[in-house]
């Protein structure tokens, strides 16, 4: 069985994993990191978004073996210890979730999107975040939380 070494939330991990295991299932079922969600398993909802070498990607359409040597950050690695990331706090403040199932993907995606630095206006941010569906319809709070962080948090702290 192929051996995979990569970094997840700053910790090195070595896994024995067959090629057919998605990064999403490796994180959830092998590493027990259940924060990354499976909503469609086909790249249609964004719930499985993680940061890979700083970029937002879909872990459901990624094979774990393709990420040998990569640096993965999941929702469990976003806060600094007990201190929430400003975006996590903004999500709470703006009631940017209801059921909470899309939330990890929304947050990882938004951090990746803000770091990309390509979306500036509200309309651009809405479009750039549209790969993350929210079935509860918490979109208003999500967009407000992201805008607040974009406007108040220095880019290097995101």
């Amino acid at each position: 069985m192929p051996e995979l070494t990569f970094t997840v939330n700053k910790h090195p991990h070595t896994l024995q994993v067959l090629p057919w295991v998605s990064l999403l299932d490796a994180l959830r079922e092998r590493l027990g990191l259940m924060g990354t969600k499976k909503g469609c398993d086909h790249g249609q909802c964004g719930a499985c978004t993680v940061l890979c070498d700083g970029k937002r990607i879909l872990s459901c359409l990624t094979l774990a073996v393709m990420k040998a040597g990569a640096d993965i950050t999941t929702i469990e690695g976003i806060a600094s210890g007990d201190t929430l990331h400003p975006l996590q706090q903004a999500f709470i403040d703006h009631d940017a979730f209801q059921c909470g199932y899309c939330t990890p993907g929304q947050i990882c995606s938004a951090i990746g999107m803000l770091r990309e630095g390509k979306a500036h206006s509200e309309a651009e941010i809405k479009d750039a975040m549209s790969g993350n569906l929210c079935r509860c319809g918490a979109n208003k709070g999500i967009l407000e939380a992201i805008l607040q962080v974009k406007q108040t948090v220095p880019h290097e702290s995101i």
């Binding site: 192929p2 067959l18 090629p19 057919w20 998605s22 398993d41 086909h42 790249g43 964004g46 978004t49 970029k55 937002r56 990607i57 879909l58 459901c60 359409l61 990624t62 094979l63 073996v65 393709m66 040998a68 995606s109 990746g112 999107m113 990309e116 390509k118 979306a119 206006s121 309309a123 651009e124 809405k126 479009d127 750039a128 975040m129 549209s130 790969g131 993350n132 569906l133």
Partner: protein, 339 residues
């Protein structure tokens, strides 16, 4: 969902050898379409040869002939946001940005974008007949729900459309595709890369077994002054085009010196008719001129029970996008119609 072997290729020749050595081996890059199809049990590779990371140190390079080379292995996002592309080929940048989602654009590669398979419902549904999926089984879309289907270039075997946005811009830009294969390297003009379905809709393109796209070469002219990409769909983002248009113009005064128009969402390949572009040369950049070009582009269009609206819609979109190209700053995120 079947098990498969996995190899990471260290070079292009290594990748080509690995794939051409086995009947059911295929390249994997972003995986955004292949892994999707595999999970739907629609494709059954025995081996995936990972080509990620090949030639990505230089995703975009300027060439001596004045053109620009895109690495096939660079991601869509890297390409769209590269300063050379943003400044010299903004039409391509906008078209890429209108496709899929931010995450998918960070994964999907340029080469992979050319190889996307259709989003036809019947192709994705194993219970349905589909000549593209199972040659000889028939076409469920012909008499089924065909709102998203082709109006141009289709056959009785297949009315599926090619779903890419990026490729609509590439068609308008008249790029060429560099491929490496077991028989060596060759260059395919973009207009010959994708096929019309004919009697063999299972073949999306003219690549031969074992051939790997290595680069896409853009000619010098990028239509950076007057361009527009317009995408019409049922929601404002993260949806495939019902109709899309890429337009590039070179103007001299109010007259059109050169024009390029390509349509997406209407055919088995990006739809471009050189005669329509020729029609515009020397004409004023007006609604009437674009309407004339639209008529040529849509000549012979045929609709079905649910998609006849596309014929008229495509004409309107060509006209509107021609006018939007006169002031490219009117474009909105998601390639929506101008305000």
């Amino acid at each position: 969902m079947n098990p498969f072997e996995y190899t990471r290729a260290g070079s292009i020749p290594e990748a080509v050898v690995a794939v051409s050595g086995e009947p059911n081996a295929c390249f994997v890059a972003g995986g955004t379409n292949l892994i999707d199809l595999w999970k739907y049990d629609l494709t059954h590779p025995d081996r995936l040869v990972d080509v990620n990371g090949l030639n990505t140190d230089k995703p975009v390079t300027e060439r001596p002939d004045g053109g620009v080379r895109l690495s096939a292995f660079a991601t869509n996002a890297t390409t769209a946001w590269h300063p050379i592309i943003e400044t010299r080929y903004p039409l391509l940048s906008k078209a890429i940005g209108a496709g899929a989602s931010g995450q998918i654009r960070n994964m999907a590669t340029n080469g992979g974008n050319l190889l996307q398979r259709t989003r036809c419902y019947y192709f994705y549904e194993p219970q349905a007949p589909c000549n593209k999926r199972t040659p000889g089984s028939g076409c469920g879309a012909l008499t089924g729900y065909n709102r998203i289907h082709a109006i141009l270039g289709q056959s009785d075997s297949c009315i599926a459309v090619f779903p890419s946005d990026m490729c609509v811009a590439l068609a308008a830009l008249k790029v060429v595709v560099q491929v490496s294969g077991p028989q060596g390297d060759r260059v395919i003009p973009f207009s010959e890369f994708h096929r019309l379905p004919g009697d063999h809709p299972e073949q999306d393109n003219t690549l031969q077994p074992g051939e790997l796209i290595t680069a896409i070469d853009l000619p010098e002219e990028g239509f950076a002054q007057n361009y527009s990409y317009l995408k019409l769909r049922d929601r404002h983002s993260y949806a495939f085009a019902l109709v899309s248009v890429a337009t590039g113009l070179i103007l001299e005064g109010d007259r059109i010196q050169e024009a390029r128009i390509a349509l997406g969402g209407v055919a088995h390949k990006p739809w471009r008719i050189p005669e329509a572009e020729g029609f515009l040369i020397g004409k004023p950049a007006t609604r009437e001129s674009f309407a004339g070009a639209a008529d040529i582009l849509l000549e012979g269009a045929k609709g079905y029970a649910h998609n006849s609206f596309k014929i008229d819609l495509a004409k309107r979109a060509i006209i509107r996008n021609g006018l939007m190209a006169l002031s490219p700053d009117t474009q909105l995120p998601g390639a929506r119609p101008s305000a």
